[in-house]
Structure formats: C-alpha cells, structure tokens
Symmetry: C2
C-alpha cells in the first residue's frame, strides 16, 4: 500500500478532499486492500468516505471479515445500494459467507429482482457452472442494425463489457459479437450477419472444471452459460475461470500430499481444522503400515541371522516411494492438463517401463560400486547382487504402479490425486520389502537352508 | 473432432465447397486440431484448401511438427503471408522451435519490419516479460476526439482488441481506455479526459511470474509492457498469463516430486530425456540414504538384542515423510498464491507446532492401543511408550522442517519446491531413526547397560 494514502487515512481529522483525489487515481483492488490493515472504527469511517459510484466496486475487493463489519454498520438503504452494485456472482459469494442475520438484512435491502437472482445462484450445486456464473451480460437481437445495437449498449452500460451475445426471442443463444466487430461494422449491417455463430457454451449443471477447460482450449475471455433448453442464463468471465483452475490445482496439491482439500487460504484456517484435514490420511497410512510390519515380523529371524540386510531397507523403501511419486505426479498433472487420456495407458506404461529400466540399471550399478568399495562383509558379492536386483525390480514396479493406478482411477471416475502419492507409497514400501526378502532368500548363502 | 469434417477430408476427391462451408462455422482451435491426426500429404493438401484469411489463424493452433511440415511444403510467398498474419509472439515461439534452415527461410520470407520485431522478441531472456509479450496492440493519442479514435481503430483492424492504450508522442504510456468506454463516450470528448490513467504495467525484463501475479491481482484481460524508460513496447494477453501460471505450477509439481522441470508435454518427451530428468534426484536421494544407513549400522547390535524395534521402523520413517510433505506442500502452494510471506514465519510455525501436537497425540494414542491389543511381548508397556514418544517427536519435528525449510529457502531466493519434498523426506527419515533409537535406549529395560 502506498505511503501517501496511509498518511491521509491516519491524519486527524481526515482531509476528505485529498483522500478522494488520491482514491480517484487508484485501482479498485488496491483501494480494497487498504481495508485489510484497518481497525473496525477506521474501516467504517473510511468506507463511508468512498465516492458512491465506486463503493460497491471497492466492496467486492474487501476481505470477508471486513465486509461483514461494514454491512453491519451501514443503513439498510446503503447496504441495498452496495449489493445492487455488485455483480450477482460476487453478491452470492458474499452472502454465502455471512451469518444468517446479516443474510436476512442484506436480502431485505435489495430489489425483488436482485433477491431472486441471488437466490437462484445460491441454489446451484457447489462446483457447478451455475454456482460461479454471473447474470450480468449483454444481449442483442439478430435483427438489430448497428444503430439499434449501440443504443442498447449505451442504455445498459454493462461493466467490463467486451462481447455481446445474440439471443432469439425465446432466449435461445445463437451467436456472439465482440465490441471490436461492432466498431468495424457498417451502420446498415444486421447483427445476424456480422455475428459469429456461437458453438462454445456451458450448461448450468456442468462441472466448473469443464468450463475452465473450455477457457484454456479456446483462449476465451468469457463463456456463455445456458440452461438445459439452450436458453442463455449467464456468463463466466476469465478471472473466475482462472480462479477455478487455481482452486482445482491447490486441491490436487493437497490430495497428493495426503490432505483433505479446503478452499480457504492457509492463515484463515484454525488449528483444529488444519489438524482435522490432515490426521485422517495419516491415520490410514499409519494403519496401512501394518502390512510392512507383517512383512518385517515375518523376516525377523532372517534379519537376525544377517543384520547387514537391515542397512539397505530404508533406501529401498524410500526409492520405491520416490520413483512411484515421480511417475504419479507427472501422470496426474498431464491428465489435469488434458495432455494424456486413458487410451494412452499402454503407451504411457511402456514409456515408464523403459524409463524405469534405464534409471534402475544406472542406480543399481552406482549403488553396487558404493557397497563394494565401502563394505567389508564376507559375502559382499551376493549382498550387492541382492540389493541391486531389488533396486531394479522396485523401480520398475513402482513406476508401473505410478502410472497404472492414477490412470485407472481416472477411468473409474475416482480421483487420481487421492489414489496417487499416499497409496502408491504404501504399496511401494510393501513391494520393496517383499522383493528384498524374497531375493535375499534366493541369493544369500547365509540365509539358505 | 466431428464426424462430418472427417468424412469430407477422407473423401476422394475432396469436395472443396463443402469443406469450406464446414470450416466457416468451426472455431480456429478446432480446425487446428484436425491436423493432429493427418498424414503428411493430407496435412499439406488440406492446409492449402483453407481460405486465405484464416490460414494464419489456423496455423497458430497447429502443433509444431505439423507446422514444420506445412512450412517446408509452401512457397516463400505463402510462408511470408502466414507469418505476417501471426501475432508476433506466436511467430517468435514458432521460430524458436524450428531448425536453422527453416528459420532462415521464414525470416527471408517476411517483411523487414516483421523480421526486426521477431528478432527483438527472440532476444529477451527466457521467462522474461519481453519473451512472452506480443507487439500487436492499439494505441491512441490523448488529444484524439472520439471520431479520430474510431477512425484509427477502423484503420488498424487489430485482432482481439478490447483495450486501447494511450501513449504520448515519445511513446510514454499514460493511460488506457476500453472499447466499452469509447462506445459510451460522447463524440466531442477527448481521449485524455475519458481514459483511465494506467498505473499497472510490467517491464520487458521483469520475470514473467510477476506479470502473471498482476493478472491475478487485478483481474486483467491484458497488461501493457514498457521498456526501462516507460515507453510502451508490447502487451501480454490473459491467455498467455494463464499459460505462465500453468507452466510454473507444473514446474512446482515436478520439483516437489524430485523431477527436473521441463516445458514439453509428457508424451512429447523421449525415454532418455524422461530418464535424465528423473535419475539425478534419485541418485542424490540414494546417496543421502547413507545417513540412515549409518544410523542403522550403529544400532545393529541394539536391534539384534531387541528385534521387535525393527517392526515399527518403516511406520515411523514414513510418518515423518508424510507429515513433513503435508506441511511443505501447503506452505509452498500458499507462497505461490501470495497467501503467506516470510514475515509470517513465526505465525506459521506456531500454527504447525500446534497442529503437529494435536495430530501427534491422537495418532500416538491410537497406535499405542493397537500395539497393546495385538502385541504379546513382555515389555509391551515400554515398547509402546517408546513408539508413542517417537511418533509425537517425529511429527512435531517434521512439521517444523516442513514449514521452516521452504520459507527460509524462499527468503534466501532459493527454490522452495526443490528443497521441499525430497530433502525434507530424507531429513525426516534420519530424524525418525535417531529419535527412535535414542528414546528406546532411554526407556527399554532390555537395552539398558
């Protein structure tokens, strides 16, 4: 935040004229950020000093706690004015975060039309296209000529407008036209002749991820949303699409790190909620360790006779986990970006198999050299052979699991990210130990018989 | 891809009229995708059938291998026409991917001006704002009235235009105005009076991540780029910003999974390159296992006297890695989204400490119950106590490492994602074993003396 605005705000009394002049050259986002650091009294005081025409716009960029403080301090009339000035998706988001008494007051303060719109938006399922769309969009009719189109645009004064959608009388979406096309067109041309027939749209009940995918694929700035009958009901803007992608990516990061996903930023989540989001998977993984424990318990006698085997256990288990999560991470990310799909599964596995063989042989050789140079055991040859063979096997098996599990999960409409790292790691541990002891039992003379 | 277009393409001879009619209602991205599946001959044949006015636009959406095939088959004249029709950033990207002989031909085929622009763009450092900007943008002068502004816009016919930038005679960027504002303004108004004074811009040598951050913060559709003297030289569009974010996120995923980052999609990378990108970290992690091996070798005698200790080793080591990567993942992602910064470090650590204590106590109690119920050893009480104490300690230490390491790395301008998962896991392994054996030595009667 800039120094000057801070000085103005902290002066006593506040120089209103100077404040407004300073605000007039600032971006709404930066004005919203001023409120982050203000105490309650100051928040209300400064918000009331905002010019009426920017108050709603700034409000949209203030964080939730402060929004609540402001709304509680304003009159019904003032609240109504602000909510009417918000995009309906921002209004719905705001209302979702507020306690019941604030919600009631807010809905009482707005027009019947706005209230109906907000209620409609709140009813769409979480993560659906309907839940993130906004209902402020510009429509034109096919039979408009340019003069009629411009008159309509001037009348509506839509915020942030760059594309107009063409709908029939029954609200059926039939095309789109950008402001640029309108500007370049000639006065007598009909909208129907210069529009681009729209084929790209999403339905209210589609998953929001599908909308985000359309934005990425077609480099869109906005996406029209239609209901089941193809009637236009809203649009999604690119900033909302970017937010969806970021949310979904954060979820993937969290799931791959064995955390239940959450939408709130780190510092906004309390300690108990943080603990709750993490302990579940840890518990499952702890219990899953029973399998490794069984394998080890079974091999105890074995290890007692040849304790040097112990030394390489952690390395082999870690290697399984590491190579497995290398592969699963690449695969999950590539699937999220639509770079690979299920029908590539054999191609991917064959690639992973060869990568695993290359890495496995190289690492085994280096590891063998290391053991031979540093170990002074008698049967160092067979020990080295055991560790090396296990290493190659573990790498191949873990890389195979790392690609087959997430791809199969996706095919079965399960979440690949959830299956990925935690589960693959546990499996890799078990695989590593079982292979290690099996190969040792075959090769090591001290263990035979 | 739709069935109809496939039929048209595979017919012999091709019905050109029908093909063009079909193409006229298709999106450029979808037309570009048709070429993915075509053989070389067919690629060239179909590309030549494209209407001239969309050829360049389609070309931008064709994958690199096919672009090369097409360029090699076209005449210099045709190549020139296509490259002139590309946005200069797309032209530069294309040239970067081509072999020297193709590059020479392409640069020979274009106008002096385009060649100079492309060469300029190619000279900006990788990952700089200059390297991703495009030089096609619309400027207006402050002293224009609306009529002059519209005349200028009609003359330039800029693709995808929604914002015009206002520059002085010395090219100094002073403001911006959207087409919407122009449409709503009155004929006699001067651009200087209706423009929004621009404060948000990036410099050519800024890191591209900084540009992406501005897009996220201010919900921009395009960002003007200026040189060191503040003169306007290009713009970045939101689709490029989205691509940067995706690339950077993919890099984070890869680094956290101990893979050297790469920009190419999974299936475009050969087996040797895949192996090369992964084996480096695996080798380091394998060698880092020497530390755990030393700890185990040191405790061998110890483990021989009390082999039951062995059973819980994998669980404790895994738990350290899991809780550590839970924390480091959350922290790294939150830092990438600017949700936390270095000065939050104590706040974050204190939060993690309490989360760790909560998770640690809960898991220890459950684990203790499990051991008591299922184990029939004599000194099960002390064994349980040892495992439980180790578990709590490991969780607290690993969660502390998981937040302190990435945050410190970021502060030191090292890459937090690289330091994160692989290194924390190795450290967590060592910590787990050292604590386990130390606590066992203190508590277990069988091991004392």
């Amino acid at each position: 935040m800039n120094e000057k605005i801070l000085q103005i705000i902290n002066a006593h009394p506040i120089n209103t004229h100077e404040l407004r002049r300073e605000l007039s050259i600032m971006n709404m986002v930066d004005i919203g950020a001023i409120f982050d650091a203000l105490a309650k009294d100051k928040t209300i005081q400064i918000f009331r000093l905002l010019p009426k025409d920017i108050a709603a716009n700034v409000f949209a960029h203030i964080e939730t706690d402060k929004q609540q403080i402001i709304v509680e301090a304003l009159t019904d009339n003032e609240v109504g004015h602000i909510i009417e000035g918000l995009f309906s998706d921002d209004a719905a988001d705001f209302i979702e975060e507020m306690p019941a008494n604030v919600v009631n007051r807010v809905l009482r303060s707005v027009s019947d039309e706005k209230r109906a719109t907000i209620n409609q938006l709140l009813q769409y399922p979480d993560d659906s296209v309907g839940s993130i769309m906004t209902t402020e969009y510009m429509t034109l009719r096919e039979d408009f000529n340019l003069i009629e189109a411009f008159a309509e645009i001037r009348e509506k004064k839509m915020k942030g407008l760059h594309t107009c959608y063409i709908v029939r009388r029954d609200k059926l979406l039939v095309g789109s036209v950008t402001l640029k096309t309108l500007l370049l067109a000639k006065e007598h041309e009909r909208i129907g002749d210069i529009m681009r027939p729209t084929v790209i749209s999403a339905q209210t009940l589609d998953d929001q991820e599908k909308a985000a995918r359309l934005f990425r694929k077609y480099d869109l700035l906005s996406l029209p949303v239609v209901d089941k009958e193809g009637r236009m009901v809203g649009i999604i803007t690119v900033d909302d699409a970017v937010e969806i992608v970021e949310e979904e990516t954060t979820e993937d990061f969290e799931k791959m790190a064995a955390i239940l996903p959450t939408e709130d930023p780190y510092l906004k989540i309390g300690v108990f909620k943080h603990a709750y989001k993490r302990v579940g998977w840890l518990l499952i993984l702890m219990l899953a360790a029973i399998f490794t424990e069984l394998v080890i318990a079974d091999a105890e006698d074995f290890l007692a006779r040849m304790p040097v085997l112990l030394v390489f256990m952690p390395m082999l288990m870690d290697m399984g986990g590491n190579v497995g999560s290398q592969t699963s991470t690449l695969i999950i990310r590539s699937m999220a970006l639509d770079e690979i799909v299920f029908r590539d599964v054999l191609k991917v596995w064959w690639r992973e198999f060869r990568v695993a063989a290359l890495c496995g042989v190289l690492l085994s050789v280096l590891n063998a050299l290391r053991i031979i140079v540093f170990n002074r055991e008698d049967d160092v040859f067979f020990l080295t052979l055991t560790v090396s063979l296990t290493l190659v096997t573990v790498i191949i098996l873990s890389k195979s699991l790392g690609c087959l599990l997430p791809m199969t999960a996706k095919k079965l409409r399960l979440d690949p990210a959830v299956l990925a790292t935690p589960i693959i790691k546990t499996l890799a541990d078990v695989v590593a130990l079982v292979m290690y002891f099996a190969i040792a039992a075959m090769l090591l003379p001290g263990l035979r018989g």
